[in-house]
């Protein structure tokens, strides 16, 4: 895969941005939501948004819109007549956020496949996903990823909404019992089936490794995501859970963005993982929480802001409930990255992450 220079990447991004803005705000192709929004806002993004900096003309995307509105308002006219997938995120209490989609997840995960080594994820073999399936985009995405590599995937569900509720209610014994139930099922699959690739969350990976020698069980690559992974914890996973011999691919992502892959760790990283958005389809910025128009300096903490730019979904300047260190562009990626992602305000308060 050729790596563009920062200038070329910026040009590509801005061309893509103009195309997407034109798509979502043109009556022939756009979605009811954005066409109505532009009418009420009284300005036409097609003529006013020409570069990434112009995105600041949009207010922050409100996640209530994804909770309160019917899904069809997000469907671009150009997709009319094509049934869509409804993917969910959140929803521990009340209505979850919903995003509709058609092919985006396939695009994201086909691209991600190119970042996996055949040594760690052998082609034409079997995968196991132990994690949140249900209404999440991840469920179909992982299966697609396995399929793209000629593989099939076993699934074991974990309902994070239930786990978070148990933990919030201080029902720790039940949370533990549920986790054991999930891990039991994975151990059973590994005992009776040949599996080489594993997708899971770090906590479930740790719990599985306590039960099963995952190298002996055939696992050669682990693709992980879904929760905070601070450097010492990453080191523990790499050195002591995966014993420096199973490939580790941490990712950062969600239903609204897709997935940001991490760059392979080098000794200089001290196990601090940097993630890079699948630009131009998504842009991650690390912004000053008190002045979100400004990005923070490199290697300092700020709040993560996501902009999604695909023909299926446009979401400008959504403030994630995460904070991260802003990282410089580095090999493979000609744009900024985010590192050591953790829940926003993690230093000030305890946040329930559970096993997720």
């Amino acid at each position: 895969m050729s790596i563009p220079s920062p200038e070329v990447a910026k040009t590509q991004l801005e061309e893509h941005l103009r195309e997407i803005i034109h798509w979502h705000f043109s009556p022939e192709t756009g979605s009811p939501f954005w066409l109505e929004w532009a009418r009420k806002a009284g300005w036409d993004p097609r003529s006013e948004v020409k570069c990434v900096d112009d995105l600041k003309k949009f207010p922050h995307f409100q996640d209530e819109w994804l909770r309160d509105l019917q899904p069809e308002v997000w469907a671009p006219k150009a997709f009319h007549g094509r049934p869509f997938n409804i993917f969910e995120t959140g929803g521990t209490t009340g209505m979850p956020k919903q995003r509709i989609g058609w092919e985006d997840y396939k695009t994201d995960y086909s691209e991600f496949s190119e970042k996996l080594s055949d040594e760690h994820f052998p082609r034409n073999h079997y995968w196991l996903m132990m994690g949140p399936t249900g209404p999440r985009r991840l469920r179909l995405a992982i299966e697609h990823l396995a399929n793209v590599r000629g593989s099939a995937c076993y699934f074991i569900d974990l309902d994070p909404r239930w786990v978070k509720r148990l933990i919030s209610n201080k029902q720790f014994d039940q949370a533990k019992a549920y986790m054991e139930h999930v891990v039991d099922q994975a151990a059973t699959i590994l005992k009776h089936r040949k599996v080489s690739g594993l997708f899971t969350t770090p906590k479930l990976l740790e719990a599985l490794a306590e039960r099963v020698d995952i190298w002996d069980a055939g696992i050669r690559g682990v693709f992980c995501g879904g929760t905070t992974m601070l450097p010492q914890y990453v080191r523990f996973i790499v050195e002591e859970v995966l014993e420096n011999r199973i490939g580790f691919y941490p990712t950062y992502g969600n239903t609204l963005m897709g997935l940001a892959a991490s760059v392979p760790l080098t000794p200089g990283d001290q196990y601090s993982i940097s993630y890079y958005a699948p630009q131009p389809r998504a842009i991650l910025r690390v912004v000053d929480p008190k002045d979100t128009e400004k990005t923070v300096e490199y290697d300092t903490w700020g709040r993560v802001e996501l902009t999604t730019l695909t023909k299926e979904f446009f979401m400008p300047r959504f403030l994630e409930r995460d904070e991260a260190l802003r990282r410089k562009p580095r090999a493979q990626y000609a744009w900024d990255g985010v590192a050591e992602v953790r829940p926003f305000g993690a230093m000030e308060k305890n946040i329930v992450e559970g096993v997720y």
Partner: protein, 477 residues
């Protein structure tokens, strides 16, 4: 060599430098005096999978040899120069006193007193074990069976390791786990956040004295990690407030050490001579900065309550902070000033309920909470309560604090509640009989004896031998 010492985790004796470190600060100046590696719970779980090997190494020694090693460790702990961390630093005994005082707030004189207690415990392990086992020949532990008083006996270990979730408030509590090594039980220690010094120095002393390093786990960790230490080890000691210990108290796997609610009771027969006991009562309340669970926190008398409270207040009220190096220092600073705020507010809140008076206020000449040379201190507080039902009557705080309450002798035992130590000043045989029959008292001192006096061969809070070993019936053909 880095100028700031780094205390690594010790994973079965081997230093482990984590990427996640916390700073320990001097409580008065805010200066960073050490960095401490923090490990995640998974590290502890992983190490525990091979804890049997650590126990096997201890089992190669006889109890007698381990008693000798403990004694050597005691001398090294008290006087030796020992490694401090993994960056080439060494720690003399004076360094230890200075550093621990700087981070815990204990004045030097109290640190030294705590060192003496630990030294005594380490150099008297044989005596302690004799008391704990009621004279069991120690070769029974070596062989697993033998004879005691002509009867066949056999003991087996209840655990492969002893877990310890330690507090930061008083170094002498470390003496509780010391017999475990002679009893061939590896220790898995989660040190107190502000007090890694004592367990680290003790471990280094044991290793220098010849104990296998693998027998020692030292895991500075978070709440989840503490939970794992308690969960994984077959037996564990934990310290905490009443709420913390309540959830573990009824589980035989745990030995819990919470507030002591220790008390002094004066009987009808002795109460008219109360002035003779004021010094003893005052020292029971205030020794060790009032931080121990064996410090008296309530004085229960049939009459003269107001006069006794006033006499104690007159004696303790003027006690003010002094520099930590001052031999006369009697108050401890707070490593966590928020704790001082909390205690001060809790006492003030309690005083809002009618029927209590802070008798010390008039002798203190100022507020209870004071800042002195950059440190935060709470000055002694004696509260006269008009009944044992008052919210301040049976409270224990991390400072010299006690209530004085009048209760008829006939009602005392029904009012006092669970009490770690009770000093009962009485010669009344009927009252003595009632005291001896009370299930609420862990240690009973009959007569004018300080509540602070402990007997190493008579455990006042759990028997470590019975905790770590169980007797089985045995027959050999």
């Amino acid at each position: 060599m880095s100028t700031i010492p780094h205390l690594p985790a010790l994973r079965r004796g081997k230093p482990y430098e984590s990427l996640d470190k916390t700073d320990i600060l001097n409580h008065r100046t805010g200066e960073v005096v050490a960095r401490v590696s923090q490990v995640n719970a998974g590290v502890i779980k992983k190490d525990m999978r091979s804890i049997d090997e650590a126990r096997a190494l201890l089992k190669k020694f006889t109890v007698a040899q381990l008693i000798e090693i403990s004694a050597k460790a005691g001398e090294l702990f008290l006087n030796g120069t020992l490694p401090l961390g993994d960056k080439g630093h060494q720690q003399t005994a004076d360094d230890y006193v200075r550093t621990l005082s700087g981070t815990s707030g204990l004045p030097h004189v109290m640190v030294k007193r705590n060192m003496q207690k630990i030294h005594y415990a380490l150099t008297h392990v044989a005596t302690i074990l004799n008391g704990l086992t009621r004279g069991l020949p120690m070769d029974v532990i070596d062989r697993g069976y033998g004879e005691q008083s002509g009867a066949a006996v056999s003991y087996y270990a209840t655990t492969q390791a002893l877990g310890l979730v330690m507090p930061s408030n008083s170094p002498a509590v470390n003496s509780l786990w010391l017999p475990a090594i002679a009893l061939k039980t590896p220790v898995v220690i989660k040190p107190g956040k502000e007090e890694p010094w004592t367990p680290y120095r003790l471990i280094q002393a044991f290793i220098a004295a010849g104990a296998p390093p693998e027998a020692f786990g030292f895991y500075p960790t978070d709440h989840e990690g503490s939970g794992e230490v308690l969960r994984i080890c077959g037996r564990a000691l934990l310290f905490g407030d009443a709420n913390t210990v309540a959830q573990y108290r009824d589980n035989p796997k745990y030995s819990v050490h919470g507030p002591g609610f220790s008390k002094i009771l004066i009987g009808e027969d002795c109460i008219d001579k109360w002035e003779d006991y004021i010094d003893l009562i005052a020292s029971s309340i205030s020794e060790n900065g009032g931080r121990s669970c064996v410090n008296a926190s309530a004085v229960v008398v049939p009459r003269h309550g107001a006069a006794i409270a006033d006499a104690l207040a007159k004696k303790l009220g003027p006690v003010a902070p002094l520099s930590p190096e001052n031999e006369g220092a009697r108050l401890s600073g707070f490593a966590n000033p928020k704790m001082a705020d909390f205690i001060d507010a809790a006492i003030e809140d309690g005083l809002k309920t009618a029927g209590a008076e802070d008798v010390t206020a008039k002798y203190r000449g100022g507020s209870r909470k004071v800042v002195f040379e950059g440190g935060v201190y709470l000055r002694p507080t004696i509260v006269r309560c008009d009944s044992f039902e008052h919210p301040l009557a049976n409270k224990e705080y991390l400072c010299p604090y006690a209530s004085v309450v009048e209760v008829p002798q006939s009602e005392m035992l029904s009012k006092i509640g669970p009490s770690l130590v009770v000093t009962a000043i009485t010669k009344d045989s009927s009252f003595t009989e009632q005291l001896l029959g009370s299930a609420l008292i862990e240690r009973l001192n009959l007569g004018p004896i300080s509540t602070m006096k402990i007997s190493w061969d008579q455990p006042h809070e759990g028997n470590m031998f019975e905790f770590l070993y169980r007797r089985r019936s045995i027959e050999r053909a």
